[in-house]
């Protein structure tokens, strides 16, 4: 398979970390400067956030970036 045809997806552990930190989706959204719907979509892995938002989420969850986000090669 050519590199251009490779498929991957961004995974995350936001929900587990958020619940562990005692935060609601709205609280995480407010602190990460996003909407609740975006946090919901990111948690459900329907939307891959920009690096900027991903770092803000990791910072709010007080966890290293690699612990919050991962990348899976589906191809």
């Amino acid at each position: 398979m050519s590199p251009a045809a490779a498929r991957g997806r961004v995974t995350n552990r936001i929900k587990a970390l958020r619940v562990g930190a005692g935060l609601t989706q709205q609280e995480l959204a407010d602190r990460a400067r996003a909407t609740r719907q975006t946090i919901l979509a990111v948690e459900a892995e329907k939307y891959a956030p920009s690096l900027e938002l991903a770092f803000r989420i990791a910072r709010v969850l007080n966890a290293p970036f690699e612990e919050v986000f991962g990348y899976v090669d589906d191809g």
């Binding site: 996003a34 909407t35 719907q37 975006t38 979509a41 329907k46 956030p49 938002l53």
Partner: protein
């Protein structure tokens, strides 16, 4: 529902109402009616005023609702990405529609006996109706794209 999605629903409803009025003024059955130029100008003015009023009211209501919780983010990068994709679809829809009209016009001139459906583009009423209907349809495509993207 995000503010962008609420705006898309409200704007789609307003778009539908205004288009209903527009087609009521312009069509007689499935054909474009014969209209005096002044009638067309007033129809145009009424539509522009209606669009401005509806969009202003929608924006005002949504801004007032957002002002109740000023600490909340009302639009973020995902909303902007959805808007950009929807704008792109609207652009391609209108480009395709205009290309079809141009092909239709050229085919009529070059091959008068062609078998494709005919639209009389020599009448101002038809041109007015088709161009405005294309704008309404393009806007509807954009708003529907926004709504589908949020529901996916």
């Amino acid at each position: 529902m995000t503010r962008s999605e609420q705006h898309a629903w409200a704007s789609l409803a307003a778009n539908g109402l205004i288009f209903f009025y527009f087609q009521h003024r312009m069509l007689d059955g499935w054909a474009v009616a014969d209209l005096a130029p002044k009638q067309m100008i007033w129809t145009y003015v009424a539509i522009v005023v209606a669009v401005v009023v509806f969009e202003s009211v929608i924006a005002g209501v949504l801004a007032a609702r957002a002002a109740r919780a000023p600490e909340r983010v009302v639009e973020d990068e995902r909303d902007q990405a959805i808007q950009a994709a929807a704008n792109n679809r609207e652009h391609w829809f209108i480009a395709a529609a205009i290309n079809i009209l141009v092909i239709q016009l050229l085919a009529d001139l070059a091959y008068p006996g062609h078998v494709f459906p005919r639209v009389d583009l020599t009448r101002p009423e038809t041109i007015f109706f088709i161009l405005f209907a294309t704008l309404f349809a393009g806007h509807a495509v954009k708003l529907a794209s926004v709504i589908v993207a949020y529901r996916r």
